[in-house]
């Protein structure tokens, strides 16, 4: 059976050129970067080369890049670290309702520890309104954390505009750029951010490695204590294979960024056009233009997401769903709900995220397999309006 992977927002395959670098740092260059002998010095070199490569991708100085275990740790360290460092200055944090749980759950934790958190709403396209950010700022605000590209619907937030508001007031700005990095140009100065999170496995690198960009002068209380690794910001012997791999992935992303963007958006648009032509009562979630090039999030009315996902899986097609059933909770996607998508429509949403290795043939295969699946489930659904025209609504 044909297999088509369209879940690159969940994780990406490791680029063989990246895997090669990781392997070398396991079997050949296996030293501990903290060791003084030549084995250690060689490993140190691999780490520092990677730091430059990652810095190069995001327009930072190498010194401003700290390696850690991934997106969640990066988000956690940024938020908890700033809240702790600046607690004498204030205790108010601003975030949005559509953040990744690595941000939301840390914010909820800090609420329990005495912080006040504002969760900004978003508009129907998933965009944070600048006026809402401005209105939420107080004298107590120490941190604003808003993601760059949303992991579910792909909407890209106006981070540079938000930065103009925070900078004028000396407020720290963090962005979770886990999905956006290596998909769209990300430059820390153009964005005006003080902290930015990156994850290896979302950009054709391995799992278990990520980086936090920390603008020079940004105060942060480290959370992992021990040896003085990573400028004393993240103790623990460096994951050299992971770090070297992330560096290589960053170098490749930088060189191939424009080409990848074109490829992904061409696939995505071919897919969207084909779906809209073939399936009635489908809605694209997220912003029509301000979105990651690889993301198509669709709501198929009258049917439920897990049933769609399972049917596609049986046909070798891998996607993810915003339905409650697949999220392990009773509520469908918090992102779609925050955008005002009715819960019953959110239940029928699927996320298709394309990758470098996908082809037009992959898209055409999905365009061939998906319409009968939707039709079959709609035939089974008590909400599907009687034949002819699908005009009625679920509710």
């Amino acid at each position: 059976m044909r297999r088509v992977y369209l879940d690159h927002a969940a994780t990406t395959p490791v680029d063989p050129r990246v895997a090669e670098v990781a392997l070398e740092c396991m079997t050949g260059n296996y030293g501990n970067p903290s060791s003084l002998h030549q084995f250690g010095r060689l490993a140190r070199q691999a780490v520092e080369t990677a730091r430059e490569q990652v810095a190069g991708l995001i327009g930072a100085a190498a010194k401003e890049v700290v390696f850690l275990s991934g997106g969640t740790e990066g988000d956690n360290l940024a938020i908890k670290g700033v809240a702790a460092a600046l607690k004498k200055r204030g205790n108010h944090i601003i975030t949005s309702a559509i953040e990744h749980h690595a941000v939301l759950h840390m914010c909820e934790y800090l609420e329990g520890a005495g912080c006040r958190v504002t969760y900004l709403p978003v508009d129907e396209h998933g965009l944070v309104r600048l006026s809402d950010v401005e209105a939420a700022l107080t004298k107590e605000t120490v941190l604003v954390t808003i993601m760059l590209g949303n992991n579910e619907v792909g909407t890209i937030q106006p981070i540079a505009d938000i930065a103009r508001l925070t900078r004028a007031r000396g407020i720290v700005l963090h962005t979770d750029a886990v999905q956006a990095t290596a998909q769209v140009p990300v430059n820390v100065d153009a964005l005006g951010v003080d902290l930015l999170t990156i994850s290896g496995h979302k950009m054709y690198g391995p799992k278990g490695i990520g980086a936090l960009y920390i603008r020079r002068g940004t105060r942060l209380v480290p959370q992992a204590l021990g040896g003085g690794h990573e400028h004393k910001l993240r103790a623990g012997t460096e994951n050299v294979p992971g770090i070297a791999a992330l560096g290589k992935a960053a170098e490749l992303a930088r060189a191939e960024l424009a080409e990848r963007g074109r490829h992904l958006s061409a696939l995505r648009d071919r897919f969207l056009d084909g779906i809209m032509e073939r399936i009635p009562d489908v809605k694209l979630n997220g912003h029509p233009e301000r979105r990651l090039p690889n993301n198509a999030n669709l709501s198929f009315k009258y049917v439920e997401g897990e049933a769609l996902l399972l049917n596609l899986d049986m046909r070798g097609i891998a996607v993810s769903s915003g339905s409650a059933c697949t999220s392990g909770s009773l509520e469908p996607s918090h992102v779609l709900l925050a955008m005002g998508v009715p819960p019953e429509v959110a239940q029928g949403s699927l996320r298709f995220t394309f990758g470098r290795q996908n082809t037009d043939d992959d898209v055409d295969y999905v365009l061939q397999e998906l319409p009968p699946v939707v039709a079959k489930l709609r035939e089974m659904s008590p909400f599907t309006p009687p034949q002819e025209e699908g005009g009625a609504d679920v509710h």
Binding site: A307, L330, E379
Partner: protein
């Protein structure tokens, strides 16, 4: 979260039995809530005290569809009292089990059927739950999981 369905569940999900509506049904019952992700609608045709036909329409996940399908197989041809004795748990057991998370939220087919039978009785002017030797009806209706609202 990963979905761990056994083969029998997947078989019913892939080839659900008795999907559809009965235009001149003797009773119709619906349970669930689209906000939570599962709604089941059962149609029954009663002949001589037995379920001569059962059809369903379901909006929901794999477990919801599979349990609807399995239920129709379990009760087709049964007397009303026998059908009322079938519970959501009977359905889950017949499917060889469902993932724990699905047990209460997607396993509602028997409730929908009981509602359809209730509807049938109401249409005939029967007064549920007591009359005509149907202690089962009261038991089943009371013991089933409540509609999730």
């Amino acid at each position: 979260m990963s979905i761990d369905y056994n083969e029998r569940v997947m078989e019913h999900f892939s080839n659900p039995r008795n999907v559809g509506e009965i235009p001149d049904a003797d009773g119709v019952g619906q349970v669930g809530n689209p906000i939570c992700g599962d709604v089941m609608k059962m149609y029954i045709k009663v002949d001589d005290g037995r379920l001569a036909d059962v059809k369903f329409k379901t909006f929901g996940c794999g477990a919801a569809i599979a349990s609807s399908s399995m239920l129709t197989e379990l009760v087709l041809g049964k007397t009303l009292a026998e059908a009322e004795a079938v519970t959501n748990h009977t359905v889950a057991d017949a499917l060889g089990g469902l993932p724990p998370l699905k047990m209460h939220c997607s396993n509602l087919a028997a409730d929908a059927l009981h509602k359809a039978i209730e509807d049938y009785r109401r249409r005939r002017g029967e007064r549920p739950p007591e009359p005509a030797g149907a202690p089962d009806a009261a038991g089943a209706a009371g013991a089933g999981a409540p509609d999730k609202a």
